[in-house]
Amino acid sequence: MSVRLQDPAALTRYREDLVAARDPRQKALAVCGGTGCRALGALDVVAALRAEVAAHAAGCDVGLRATGCQGFCQGGPMLLLVPEGIVYQHVGVGDVAEIVEKTLLGGEIVERLLCTDPETDLQCVREEEIPFYQRQQRVLLRDNGLLDPTSIDASIALGGYAALARALEMGPEAVLHEIKRSGLRGRGGAGFPTGRKWEACRRAQGDLKYVICNADEGDPGAFMDDALLEGNPHGVLEGMIIGAFAMGAREGHVYVREEYPVAVERITRAIEQARGLGLLGEAILGSEFCFDVRVSRGGGAFVCGEASAMMASLEGRRGVPRRRLTHLSERGLWGRPTNLNNVETWANVPHIVLRGADWFSSIGTEGSTGTKIFSLVGKVVRTGLVEVPMGTTLREIVFGAGGGVPGGRAFKAVQTGGPSGGCLPADKLDLPVDFDTLAAEGSMMGSGGMIVMDEDTCMVDVARYFLRFLASESCGNCTSCRDGLAILRDLLGDITEGRGTRETLTLVEEIADTVEATSLCALGTSAVNPVLSTLRYFRDEYLAHVDDKHCPAGVCKALISFTIDAERCNGCALCAVHCPKGAVVGEKKRPHAITQELCIKCGICKDVCRRDAVLVH
């Protein structure tokens, strides 16, 4: 039950009341409830904490909340103790009693739960001390650790919707002007100047205009938008409302991929809450501005991340992109002026309105202003979400925040830009990450996915992986994309299975050329980037596959064999027990051997061996 806020002053009073009611010294336990930490049992930790506090700290007025993704996925489940700012990592249900007794009640630190700085070996107590966070400038993700994403009051208390009130005061043209001045460019991958896009929509003819939030986030390995929607849905919603105001849009859609059910739930609830308070719907904050939003789910199609395909999906059609002869800002959804922006783009808007275009453009580079959230994953020590100013180098992200490659393995490549991007080798690590630099080198920044690969990754296998993905995601309209990618996928299959020749490589390049030159949409035209960039930077690996039928990284099953090092093997027979094909033979306590004809290269023996005695050639 809520009361509509009649005007901006009412919102200010509402916020002041909320803040006044909170004791800044009040203790709170904030457990990260992002997808990753949930998968590691964070909700069980929350439940255990609740029970423990009720049993042993009932007198202590301590708040407990599950927050959105805080980005330090490697340390999950994460726990933040407020107001001290103590950060614990790898928190399990078994640690709960100690945390409540020692830290909450006793004011002592449980040292084994602290993060350690790997360079100094010193323990970090507060978030500011943790290298992973130190290397970042967290504008968008900062609030993820501070608020309960299911509570609009929590958002408002932290300043939520103050930007909306300011925007209403400024008027649409002034808001538009500020967004243009900020230099904000679309965060979904294409990097189109947001202000220009908004202006085109504002100037377009038509009474009914739409704004869309693209939360389709289909790049595998990218989860920035999920974290923003799950962790701070009001931050995104506020950006959309401000944008709708600036453009004169009356209706909005948030299109969320169906693989993100929690994000769907959070943004749906946020919309209901905002409506209840009069921040959405008729006469927003007492102004003449009316705007409402619906949540729509994707059906499971990467291509629907493309703006015109997304609109087709919203119109109840197959997600087939259409050629843009007029801009979507003039004729988009249902043929009406439509502005589509990515989740992260919308999330930046309230910050720009409140803190100004000058502040925003002071971060980053001249051509790429502001921060960018990267999802740093793969063969990297500290996987998670990294938010840094545009222009930060790959090296600073991968080796700085990310801590480099684990296990002493050598860095080989970093894949940026998802399936539309490319793989860049070690000698490109000092490139600044922004909209334009990586594109010149055969990759692109894309939506922010950054997958680190090491010497055990086969780059030919990576190209094959992306082609398989893209061929299955092609909408199927264009001969070049639909059939070209299918054949490229099969040719890469030939190469990884030992049937490739030099001619195969030539044919791959020829087909890729036509796919790039004659496909209708960006899925097709950029689909060749992974294979072309790996051919460019890792040609020697391709040549090893086709000339020598050898996979240097030891990945391509048809080209490798597993053997047991007799000197290391102690005959424990664990591998023999687990081998699904009974291919391991040997007497107890004597070195075992693998019968090559039966071996299916599943790798289970290597997984279970405790003595590193299984070798891959």
Binding site: T35, G36, R38, A39, L40, C73, Q74, G76, E217, G218, D219, P220, G221, A222, F223, D226, A227, E258, E259, Y260, S296, R297, G298, G299, G300, A301, F302, S313, L314, E315, G316, R317, R318, G319, W334, S375, V377, G378, K379, T383, G384, Q415, G418, G449, I451, M453, T457, V462, Y465, F466, F469, C475, H578, P580, C602, G603, I604, D607, V608
Partner: protein, 177 residues
């Protein structure tokens, strides 16, 4: 508005008779969506699938009529999206994430192992409807790769050994569940 169904009587056997309980369930779902407005089509399909665990043909016919969309077209839309299933799914689901981050951490081998252990190929359902095995492109838990989702529960840092145990608990790999 589309013309009325012109199908041959045999295929419309139940159309004029008393609506079945399934038809009533579908009608209740469809009530949330304006008649004749195709925009809600994908969301309607989600609702039907949530109700029946797949998209039964009769439900799709009803939806086509309600939304004012020709049924061939509706079927064409449903078939476009990977998330919709035209045949019943298994009681249990084992989903292996094959996103890029999980891929470089060994997801393909885990998928092969599940297929081998259960005899069910990715995308398929066991004949006795006990288990469906699928791949998914990325669910946003990349830091925990390789990731496997068993009946909606996420399991990260998966190894071959653990996977055998977990799948074995879900569905007896000798055929009983």
């Amino acid at each position: 508005m589309r013309e009325e169904d012109r199908s041959t009587p045999a295929s419309d056997a139940g159309a004029q008779a008393e609506p079945s309980s399934d038809a009533r369930r579908v009608a209740a779902l469809l009530q949330e969506y304006p008649r004749g407005d195709p925009g809600g089509l994908v969301d309607v399909l989600h609702d039907i699938q949530a109700e029946f665990r797949y998209l039964p043909e009769d439900a799709l016919r009803q939806a086509a009529q309600h939304l004012g969309v020709p049924r061939a077209q509706l079927y064409g839309v449903a078939s476009f999206y990977r998330g919709f299933h035209m045949s019943p799914r298994g009681e249990h689901t084992c989903t292996v994430c094959v996103g890029t981050a999980c891929h470089v951490r060994g997801a393909p081998r885990l998928l092969e192992q599940v297929e081998r252990d259960t005899g069910v190929a990715a995308g398929a359902t066991a004949v006795d409807l006990s288990l469906t095995v699928e791949e998914v492109g990325c669910v946003g838990a990349c830091a925990l790769g390789p990731l496997v989702i068993l009946d909606g529960e996420y399991h990260g840092h998966m190894t071959g050994e653990r996977l055998s145990r977990l799948v074995g608990k879900l569905v007896d790999t000798e055929g009983r569940s």
